[in-house]
Amino acid sequence: MLLECTIRHDGANWVVEHGTNSISAPTLEELDRGMERYLKEEGLLKAGEKAQVFMAFDNSTIPQWIRQYSQHYFNRIVEVKG
């Protein structure tokens, strides 16, 4: 299963948004654990299954004046096991 989300940084936390839901954490490790919990709680990931979470970076985190120099920060793919 491939789940598409966006990721941004609000100055204190990394924030992943999936539809109207969001998960936030100060570090990427904690964020990934939060993502795993979210997938299980929402029933999107069952025991023994694997899910790939594609996190596309929301460029609004980068100020407009910098975007003229570079329009990409990073995209991540995280594999989560149920």
Binding site: N59, I62, Q68, Y69, H72, Y73, I77
Partner: protein, 528 residues
């Protein structure tokens, strides 16, 4: 929300990088319609030197200070374009303004603010371009008598660039409210990327131009551009391998900066400024604020380099003895595309004037070759950023952070690839194909065909390119607020930057440029 880069084609209509390609290549195609006998670009405006009181029979009437390039170069509509004169300034404002507004609309900028900013920046640019072409500033020692002058600063077109930068800096630092008002249209990177696409036209047109003087000169120019291409790549690879580890070690060992900050700073100082700082920040998964701080430093220092290096390279070392070493070193030393291309263009003007005066007119270099050498190394550096950031991401994700389950998508290389480079190479190769194909490598039989190509290429590589360079200088000044250095808590980073740049990067850049570019000769077109 700003659009995330999800697919390979994301951003084609919404990112400045792509819009530099659309503007540059769009006007290039318009120019190439000349091959079919229709001149659609002869209206592009260009300044010429002027004085208040031209001597009798001499040159420099104010009425002719701006002219449409079609007046000189059009193969089909010289009569029409001759009549435009100063009106070419308005034609250029309307047509380039409309094209820029279409881009701004697609990029979802505030169109009203953009148009107001564009209008003010454009006419300020034209005013400085005009003043900078006064004979006292621009005339060379060899032709000042034609303007009835006993003395001239001999800055060539460089005087206009310096003026534009000064006017921009005054606005950016003393009229901050006004600078803020102009900010929607003060986009030096967009303008310079567009100018670099048209520099591809310049590079491709060079053999065509010189073959009009002699077929042998055309062949020399072709060989030189290929040499620059290969030497630029080699020098860039060597620079990457020396610069990045060097700055990383300086940051870590001497200044004790954290690992991620050292990595971002290392890329910002040693590779290609803001783009590399952002790419590396993303690659090592640093908080965006680290890249943002380094980017602010890069922009300020790049402007300082732009002011200092062209004069230094022209008059101290390597001087006119090795102009292409100087150009390549500039490309490796100045850390934003805008400041590098602008510095290269400034140095191009300084070097050509100097060599003409030194040899009493026996040596004349075609304009733009020194700029091309500065931009070529920078273009290679830009192209490698994506690959370098990808390697760093692999090292960080799999070796340093070792987060279970995380994977680095290969598409990252493409998302970080500078798309304007595609326009630059496209224009260059298109013109080379015309030169080697129907142009018969400059053979006299192909002269009418090459003349029609010239009628299209010149307004783009000369008029549009110079105008966008001027817009870059002006915008660069407007967005450069030196107060940022004082306000922000950069701490040690300022000193890392200063020491790494002046004591490590620039000397090593000159050395590497020397190794790969020493001995390359610019064709002498004196007497043609």
């Amino acid at each position: 929300m700003a659009e995330p880069n999800r697919k390979w084609y994301t951003g084609m209509t919404t990112q400045e990088d792509w819009w530099a390609v659309w503007l540059g290549v769009g006007f290039f195609f318009l120019a190439m319609v000349n091959i079919f006998g229709l001149d659609l670009v002869g209206w592009m405006t260009y300044p010429t030197k002027w004085v208040f009181s031209p001597p009798e029979g001499g040159k420099g009437a104010i009425g002719g200070a701006f002219y449409a390039l079609g007046k000189k170069y059009s193969a089909t509509s010289k009569g029409f374009y001759s009549g435009l004169g100063w009106w070419s300034v308005v034609w250029s404002y309307v047509i380039f303004g409309a094209a820029a507004c279409i881009g701004a609309a697609f990029m979802r900028w505030n169109l009203k603010k953009f148009l107001a900013g564009w209008t003010i920046i454009y006419f300020l640019t034209i005013a400085t371009w005009f003043i900078g072409h006064h004979g006292f500033i621009a005339a060379s020692k060899l032709d000042m008598e034609k303007y009835g002058l006993g003395f001239a600063l001999s800055l060539g077109g460089g005087g206009s660039f310096i003026l534009a930068l000064i006017v921009g800096l005054v606005i950016g630092n003393f009229f901050r409210g006004f600078a803020g008002y102009l900010s929607e249209a003060a986009k030096p990177e967009w303008y310079i990327k567009t100018a670099i696409v048209t520099l591809g036209v310049k590079l491709g047109y060079l053999p065509i131009k010189l073959s009009g003087m002699s077929q042998q000169l055309g062949e020399q120019a072709t060989t030189l551009t290929f040499d620059l291409f290969v030497a630029g790549a080699a020098a860039t690879i060597v620079a990457y391998l020396i610069f990045w580890p060097g700055v990383y070690v300086i940051s870590r060992k001497i200044f004790k900066l954290p690992r991620k900050t050292a990595a971002v700073l290392g890329s910002g100082i040693s590779i290609c400024g803001v783009s590399a700082a952002v790419a590396t920040g993303g690659a090592v998964r640093a908080k965006p604020v680290v890249s943002i701080m380094v980017s602010a430093l890069v922009v300020i220092w790049a402007v300082i380099e732009l002011v200092v290096l062209p004069g230094f390279f022209t008059h101290v070392w390597p001087t006119t003895k090795d102009p292409l070493v100087a150009g390549a070193a500039m490309g490796m030393s100045v850390k934003t595309d805008g400041a590098d291309a602008a510095a290269g263009e400034l140095m191009d003007s300084f070097m050509r004037n100097k060599v003409e005066v030194e040899t009493a007119g026996a040596t004349v270099w075609p304009e733009g070759i020194v700029t091309s050498s500065a931009v070529m190394t920078k273009v290679w550096i830009d192209m490698f950023i994506g690959l370098w950031a990808f390697i760093l991401a692999l090292v960080w994700v799999y070796r340093i952070d070792r987060r279970p389950g995380e994977r680095v998508p290969g598409s990252e290389v493409w998302h970080r690839f500078p798309k304007f480079v595609l326009g630059y190479f496209f224009c260059w190769l298109f013109l080379l194909a015309l030169y080697f194909g129907p142009g018969q490598t400059g053979a006299p039989e192909a002269a009418p065909f090459l003349k029609s190509v010239k009628a299209g290429a010149v307004p783009v590589e000369k008029g549009m390119r110079k105008l966008f360079f001027m817009l870059t200088f002006m915008s660069l000044g407007i967005i450069t607020d030196f107060k940022k250095l004082k306000e922000a808590q950069f701490g040690k980073m300022i000193w890392v930057y200063f020491i790494a740049l002046f004591l490590f990067i620039i000397p090593v850049a000159i050395l590497i440029a020397y190794l790969f570019h020493h001995g390359m000769k610019i064709p002498n077109i004196a007497g043609f």
